[in-house]
């Protein structure tokens, strides 16, 4: 897994999804404009259709690139479960040591108070 490119490719795909939503909105807008009883406004319709076509083209480009650059699926080559459990054990050891040191500190402070 490549973490840094993964977030950007995820972002790109999320942008594609947002674009599709936008495209749908444009289509809806154009339809409503066509259903306008006083006739559709040409510049609005032209602009929306132009944006629609451009977005579809962008979407197509992005998807093609993402599909080409999708990495090969290697199932869990670098599974880190074993080091994970050894880290958990180390964590426990550290907690234990911290507790011991805290006790020592308390003892020292106790001596300090006594003296």
């Amino acid at each position: 897994m490549y973490p840094q490119s993964q977030t950007t490719s995820l972002q790109r795909l999320q942008n594609v999804e947002k674009r599709i939503v936008r495209v749908l909105e444009l289509a809806g807008g154009v339809m409503e404009e066509m259903g306008n009883p006083s006739g559709p406004r040409k510049e609005l319709v032209n602009g929306s259709c132009g944006e629609f076509m451009q977005s579809v083209k962008d979407i197509q480009l992005t998807l093609r690139e993402e599909i080409k650059s999708a990495c090969e699926y290697r199932p869990f080559e670098k599974c880190d479960y074993v080091p994970r459990i050894s880290n958990e054990i180390c964590c426990k050891k550290l907690e234990y040591v911290i507790a011991q040191i805290d006790e020592m500190k308390q003892t020292i402070e106790g001596y300090g108070d006594a003296s």
Binding site: Q14, V21, M31, G35, C79, I98
Partner: protein, 663 residues
């Protein structure tokens, strides 16, 4: 006969197809019998006009009777619509007759309809048709537009929801194995993701390991569509080790271990709150997964312990067994229990043992004590040598990790045909045995340490140094005696004065106590070398020598070692100073003028509260080496009790002798 003549045409009496199916099967209508045909024909004769002729006569009579009585104004409106209705009905009738005719004509092969032409539309009709079609088109456009916008909104919401879900899933994927059941996904309509916590490489496939039921965790959606993980409550069990009878000794202390477990549960509850941020959500799930993974690992550890405890090869230490619970005895004094507990059960057992619940009462072989009195509990634990249970819990986990991991590594290298290094591989039957022996060793070495501490407390010039061995079954301490700097400086003056006797007087003497399992070995330079004594060698520097001893004999032996070190040192100093002195095991004899011999004798008493090493001065004409001193003999003319002397005082005593002796 009044009325028009009506003509009806029959279908030709040939077989007509009713329907034909895709596979070519032809369906014919039922054959109607001859009589039935006749009846059908008679039915087709329309006698309606006859009936109508008779009925209207009756109707008109009625109407004329009633109309004269009714108010005409009321009926005028209904009369207007009534004519419209009648006209429409007549038109409808005519149309249906025509349609019937057309259909009948069409059904016959012999007659075909050449064509039907619509009558030319009037311009207003044309316009109205156009208007209607335009309006419907506009209507459908608007409808479409609304549809598109609605679906855009719905898609946006779904995209946002899924973005949260998949964003969280990707973050989880960086740390955990996220897999997908494609068939389940297709069947149930959900995505079918799950998190796999099992690790094939860690566990030996040949052993009877089955992946835990907890190791597959389904990824679900919570109410807001965000990723959520639902686990049954109290399904996770953790390893818990306890020394029976001392459960409360170390619970009073502020251990973060149990704290962390409750923290993770708290965060698990927080993820169910509606307004938890995505970050907190993912972190909550991470900690849940961590907990589950630790629980799975603890389960495996307990599995191994169980298997080894029940195998016959283990020296019979098992004294009790229940579900998720094992009790082993270490030596005759201590008992340890290893169990799998749900985390809040841990608190319960600590409280229960304080209250002497029936379960624990039988386990407490060492008596009960007040749970609130943590200080007393700790003291009692110290005296019995019981170590901290947390340390050994961790150690058990570590042993298992080394066993599993090394085995898996060796299994991996084995597949390439190379021989694995066997010295690092622990035989499977030894883990629990090794662990129990480690506990036994620790208990024993704690007792040894108590003895050493009590000795060193009462002997001010001895230092106790711990020597870490990094082995769980051996411990080492060093008792070191350092000659104070003041004496060394004074001694160096003498070295400069005297001629020839340039010797490096040792300034540090050490005795090493090595405990391996439960055998004690005392080592040290300057161990009493009988041969050296007979030869009267001044530099009785011996090679490091050691011998074994019991715990009971340890104090005496150590004190004797220390005392002999002091004697050695005094002897060397005497030689430097220029006094003629001879050394025995625990005494130093000085030859005075006139041939008198004065001995400085050390007396060791490990039970003496004030101090362990006391000094006596014995004056005799005959050197009394075999003379034994008892404290009850008391002082006499030839014996003087000097008391507990520090090294400085001893050195100055030595210098006093310098004045008395003949140099």
């Amino acid at each position: 006969m009044a009325g028009d003549l009506k003509v009806s045409l029959d279908k030709l009496p040939i077989k007509r197809l009713d329907a034909i199916e895709e596979n070519g099967f032809e369906r014919f209508p039922f054959d109607v019998g001859y009589d039935e045909k006749r009846v059908n024909l008679t039915r087709r004769i329309d006698f309606a006009w006859v009936v109508e002729r008779e009925d209207p006569n009756k109707k008109q009579k009625k109407e004329s009777a009633t109309s004269a009585n009714d108010v005409t104004t009321n009926n005028q409106q209904s009369w207007q619509w009534q004519s419209l209705v009648e006209n429409l009905q007549l038109a409808h009738q005519e149309l249906s007759v025509i349609i019937d005719l057309i259909n009948t004509v069409e059904a016959n092969d012999s007659v075909t309809v050449a064509g039907m032409t619509r009558p030319k539309q009037l311009p207003c009709e044309h316009l109205s048709d156009l208007a209607v079609s335009t309006t419907t088109k506009l209507q459908s456009f608007r409808h479409l537009g609304k549809n598109f916008k609605q679906s855009a909104k719905a898609l946006e919401e779904q995209v946002a929801r899924e973005a949260r879900f998949y964003g969280a899933l990707i973050r989880l994927q960086q740390n955990w194995k996220v897999k997908r059941h494609r068939l389940v996904a297709a069947a149930s309509g959900k995505e079918g993701f799950y998190i796999d916590l099992s690790d094939g490489s860690l566990y030996d496939l040949a052993s009877a390991f089955r992946p835990s039921s907890m190791s597959t965790i389904l990824v679900e959606h919570d109410a807001a569509g965000m990723l959520a993980v639902n686990l049954p409550q109290n399904s996770r069990r953790y390893l818990h080790l306890e020394f029976l009878g001392f459960s409360s000794a170390y619970y009073g202390r502020n251990y973060n271990v149990t704290k962390l477990q409750t923290l993770s549960e708290k965060s698990a509850k927080e993820t169910r709150e509606e307004h938890a941020s995505d970050d907190e959500c993912v972190r909550g799930i991470h900690s849940i997964l961590r907990d589950v993974y630790r629980a799975i690992y603890d389960e495996h550890v307990f599995d191994l312990v169980n298997r080894e405890a029940c195998s016959p090869s283990l020296a019979a230490n098992l004294t009790g067994i229940r579900e998720n619970y094992l009790r082993l005895s270490i030596d005759q004094e201590a008992s340890v229990s290893i169990s799998l507990l749900i985390s809040d059960q841990v608190h319960q057992t600590s409280r229960a043992s304080n209250k002497n619940s029936p379960n624990e009462a039988t386990d407490e072989a060492l008596g009960s004590f007040d749970g609130l009195n943590f200080g007393a509990g700790i003291e009692k634990a110290k005296i019995s040598g019981i170590p901290n249970r947390v340390g050994f819990e961790i150690y058990l986990r570590q042993l298992y990790h080394e066993y599993a991991f090394v085995r898996s590594k060796n299994a991996a290298t084995f597949s390439f045909g190379t021989r694995s290094a066997s010295q690092s591989v622990k035989d499977s039957s030894n883990i629990l045995g090794h662990f129990c022996m480690s506990i036994a060793h620790r208990i024993f070495s704690n007792k040894v340490l108590l003895v050493l501490e009590s000795l060193v407390c009462r002997t001010p010039y001895i230092q106790l140094i711990s020597h870490p061995t990094w082995r769980s079954r051996s411990s080492t301490w060093i008792l070191s005696m350092k000659i104070p700097q003041s004496i060394l400086q004074a001694g160096s003056q003498f070295q400069l004065c005297s001629s020839g006797n340039m010797k490096n007087v040792r300034s540090q003497f050490w005795t090493k106590v090595v405990v391996i399992d439960d055998s004690i070995k005392v080592e040290g330079e300057g161990a009493p070398n009988v041969v050296g004594l007979f030869k009267g060698k001044a530099d009785g520097f011996c090679a490091v020598d050691g011998f074994n001893c019991d715990l009971a004999d340890l104090p005496i032996i150590l004190l004797q070692q220390i005392a002999s070190h002091i004697i050695q040192w005094l002897h060397e100093e005497a030689l430097v100073v220029g006094i003629k002195a001879s050394r025995d095991f625990l005494s130093l004899a000085f030859e005075l003028e006139h041939g008198e011999v004065v001995s400085l004798v050390a007396h060791v008493d490990p039970d003496n509260i004030d101090g362990c090493i006391t000094w006596w001065l014995i004056m005799d004409d005959v050197p009394t080496e075999e003379h034994k001193l008892h404290s009850d003999v008391g002082e006499s003319e030839s014996r003087k009790f000097l008391g507990y002397l520090s090294l400085d005082v001893l050195y100055s005593t030595l210098l006093d002798f310098l004045n008395l002796c003949s140099c």
